[in-house]
Symmetry: C2
Subunit: 152 residues, 2 copies
DNA sequence: ATAATGTTGCAACTCAGTATCAAGAAGGAG
DNA sequence: CTCCTTCTTGATACTGAGTTGCAACATTAT
């Protein structure tokens, strides 16, 4: 008995095709990697995984496909507090925005949804007359484990 | 009659010296640029301004000084939604955290303080047992002017 | 003044991301 | 199915932000 799925696989592909974009073999491969990723991946991790499915994919194509997905609001770009280098991480845009918390000691990334965050966004739109397209709330600090365990 | 000042000039210098750090001529120059900046500056803008005061300052020293200030929690590093390139922007850490809104059309950066944001941070600390060191909430979208004026 | 230690400038480097352009693939018209 | 237009790709070279290693130098304590 299959678990309930929030989103069917191939959703990104369907989205792009419905917008009249060409569906190439490379794009299909990269989209499937993005869709099945369990963690936040950077461009080079994405490339490595895509190449396991099709070794002929170039890193330039990964960057171009990510730019395409960003432009269409289908993925979000994260910095995750630049814990290692300046690279970016990517995730499918969720139904509901969430907060990313990065532990400065162990590096763990935790996600958190909050009504207060939703209300804050509403306040920004109202009070500032600002039409929100994308938000990014990143928090750096120390997670529960690292607060209580011995210092490194 | 002088306007009330939130912070006296030289505050960053005093902070660093009180922490036992060496105060070199270059650091003093760079700190004064950071303190008197009216907008968010990136590293190369900071270098240019510092060089107007002392032409012998190297860009490496700017990066090192910024890293020092970050480590001591005296400046915050911003991405401002990476509107042009991947560079970072810097501002003195304010008394109270604020939100940065970036207009995707005109590029204007607006700052916004909010009780809801303060409460949200409190909720994160409590509910997630997460000790917050730094936060960054950036919002991309369209400002009031750009929403009402003719499309570009 | 002197010595110990931290800081600087220089040059070379790393690494993420971008531009160019000829060759190749997608998809519609016939 | 084939041809044609248009878009996409891969290879290569490039850009630009930020870092590293090291000898020379400046700061602070003594």
């Amino acid at each position: 008995m299959p678990l309930p799925q929030t989103e069917a696989p191939g959703r990104l592909q369907a989205e792009l095709m419905s917008r009249g974009l060409r569906m190439t073999h490379q794009r299909r491969t990269i989209l499937s990697v993005v869709e099945t990723a369990k963690q936040h991946l950077d461009a080079s991790q994405l490339l490595r995984r895509a190449r396991r499915l099709d070794p002929r994919i170039d890193r330039v194509t990964v960057y171009r496909t990510l730019a395409l997905l960003k432009r269409h609001g289908l993925v979000d770009e994260l910095d995750l507090m630049h814990m290692q280098g300046e690279k970016h991480y990517y995730e499918r845009r969720p139904q509901r925005d969430h907060i990313h918390m990065a532990c400065l000691r162990c590096g763990k990334i935790t996600e958190f949804e909050s009504d207060l965050f939703d209300r804050l966004k509403g306040q920004i739109q109202r009070d500032c007359q600002f039409h929100i397209v994308v938000t990014r709330l990143e928090v750096g600090g120390y997670c529960a484990q690292c607060r209580t365990s011995a210092p490194a």
